[in-house]
């Protein structure tokens, strides 16, 4: 009993450093942010409690609404375009061929490059007299050259396309791992039953891949809500509010306008969206596990 008690205390000691850092720098600010989101506060002085006013204002502020709308558009694009492309890439990368390791490296390499460096390159390539337009002119598409990042209609679509450079490789690797975890004899059994090509994919690969699919969908949606570096560096949300994301709107409300209470409310809204996506993902995964 006494020895047990001692061991328990020692174990607590092992836990304390991590728990202390985590609570102080993660939980305390998180709980505080819930309170601040109901206040009018500019960072100095006392926060003034104003109830739901911040939350009500979010829906009238074009920075926030356009930011949210853009994030949702990007998430939709991620689900409809990026996700199938990543899956296709993974299926192809799972086959045997000579240059496979080179191609895998090439697909994954963009992921480790920082968004800052990516912004430097892409910002230059997308300029009016930049690489992309020059190539367009050379191949006879002069009529669709554009100041891609300086135009209300093209700035955010351009940013979405830029994210694909990293997102496809990242998601493809997750799918690839999922594919490699599927036992080979399932395919053999199905082939004996007469299943071929598409039906193999539809009835074995896809169901077996569901855990990976939910992870990728989760990462896609959360990533689009949290996107910050690219619009901040490339366009600062402009022209107008055309390339705002929700995160950028929160950042600007806080650190440009010193409207901290309001910014925290934006942060909470963002957090709620992410939690909803997590819950949907968790329940979807759990349902699949039951089925399997």
């Amino acid at each position: 009993m006494n020895l047990n008690r001692k061991q328990f205390m020692v174990s607590i000691l092992f836990l304390i450093p991590a728990a202390a850092i985590f609570i102080l720098f993660f939980y305390v600010p998180f709980l505080q942010s819930i309170y601040y989101s109901f206040t009018d506060w500019n960072g100095v002085g006392k926060p003034k409690f104003i109830g739901w006013a911040n939350y009500a204002h979010i829906w009238k502020d074009p920075h926030m609404t356009d930011g949210l709308w853009n994030s949702l558009k990007m998430a939709a694009f991620g689900l409809v375009v990026q996700n199938p492309l990543a899956l296709l890439a993974a299926v192809l990368l799972n086959r045997q061929f000579r240059t496979r390791s080179f191609i895998r490296t090439a697909f994954y390499l963009p992921v480790i490059i920082s968004l800052v460096v990516a912004s430097v390159v892409w910002g230059q390539m997308l300029q009016y007299d930049g690489f992309i337009n020059e190539v367009m002119i050379r191949i006879g598409l002069e009529s669709i050259t554009e100041d891609w990042l300086g135009n209300v209609w093209t700035s955010f679509p351009a940013i979405i396309l830029l994210t694909q450079w990293q997102a496809i490789g990242y998601c493809a690797i997750i799918y690839l791992a999922g594919l490699q975890a599927i036992p080979q004899d399932m395919y053999e059994a199905a082939e004996i039953e007469g299943a071929r090509g598409w039906s193999l994919f539809r009835f074995i690969t896809l169901p077996m891949l569901m855990p990976a699919v939910t992870i990728v969908l989760f990462l896609t949606v959360v990533g689009s809500l949290k996107l910050f570096d690219l619009p901040y560096i490339l366009t600062n949300g402009g022209p107008g509010t055309s390339s705002y994301t929700l995160f950028l709107a929160v950042y600007n409300a806080a650190f440009k306008d010193n409207n901290y209470g309001y910014a925290t409310a934006g942060g909470i809204v963002l957090a709620i969206f992410i939690v909803i996506v997590s819950i949907v993902q968790l329940s979807a995964t759990r349902r699949k596990e039951v089925e399997l």
Partner: protein, 274 residues
């Protein structure tokens, strides 16, 4: 390998083409850093000689200072996380009492709760603790952010270590703390490796945290320095910005090429479980 299908020649060629497209921006970045001003704004022209002036301009005090700061917070953040999360993950795997279960779920909730809203209270907290504008604060923030994933990873790996090992060490009169660092921690090395290889990029490439919590140039890390460099050079020549970007990318590129097999495996594990 696992008997998967062979790709047709056409598929291989198509994939090669796409992967070259993926590499193009990286090549473009490197090429631009060597293009002399005369041809810098001719996008399709390749440099005909190695022009090193941008590198001379980029390799100034600013670069070395921020490189040092990036190294400092990266090593600091990883080391502190490994130190605290390995101990925590170990006991979370071994003890079944309520207290430990509670902390396990508390840590796990950190994987879902986003930190966006907390940035402002954190700013206030850091001011209160006199940690604002210090690299120490960054080390703590990265550690707090990594604790959920890292302690989960360590606790998963601990479960594969037989308990008999600890019992025999106990009989030998080894104190718990010593026993952990001398016997258990070395066995957790794969977890440590996985953790480092999947998270070193996150700190090195981080732009937002130093942007918010640091303000003096002496303490700034690489990424905000590049952006500052870029905004300063907007009207002049962009070449040095490309050179400094290449230099900032280089350490991670080398690390990636050398460790990519391990890294991809770890990353998959992290994402599947996270």
């Amino acid at each position: 390998m696992n008997g998967s299908k062979r790709a047709s020649f056409g598929t291989e060629v198509a994939l090669l083409f796409v992967s070259l497209l993926f590499l193009l921006p990286v090549l473009y970045l490197v090429i631009m850093s060597f293009k002399e001003p005369r041809i810098f704004y001719k996008p399709l022209q390749l440099p005909d000689r190695l022009y090193l002036d941008y590198y001379k301009q980029a390799l100034g005090v600013e670069f070395f200072r921020s490189l040092f700061n990036s190294l400092l917070v990266t090593v600091g953040g990883l080391a502190l996380t490994i130190f605290v999360a390995s101990m925590a993950g170990y006991v979370l795997a071994r003890r079944k009492e309520r207290t430990f279960q509670f902390f396990f779920y508390l840590f796990m909730s950190g994987m879902v709760i986003p930190t966006v809203g907390s940035l402002i209270p954190l700013f206030k907290l850091a001011t209160f603790l006199h940690l604002i504008n210090t690299r120490t604060l960054l080390v703590f923030l990265y550690t707090a952010g990594f604790i959920p994933f890292a302690s989960f990873l360590y606790s998963a790996f601990t479960k594969s270590i037989p308990r008999e090992l600890e019992e025999s060490a106990n009989i030998d009169g080894c104190g718990s703390l010593r026993m952990f660092w001398v016997i258990i921690f070395p066995l957790l090395l794969p977890a440590t490796g996985t953790f480092i290889l999947t998270n070193v990029y996150g700190i090195w490439n981080d732009f937002l945290t130093p942007l918010i919590f640091l303000n003096s140039p002496e303490k700034m890390t690489l990424m905000p320095t590049i952006v500052q460099f870029m905004f300063n050079k907007q009207s002049i020549n962009f070449g040095p910005v490309f050179a400094i970007s290449v230099l900032a990318m280089l350490p991670l590129l080398l690390l990636f090429v050398l460790t990519q097999k391990h890294m991809l495996r770890g990353l998959v594990m992290g994402s599947v479980k996270g």
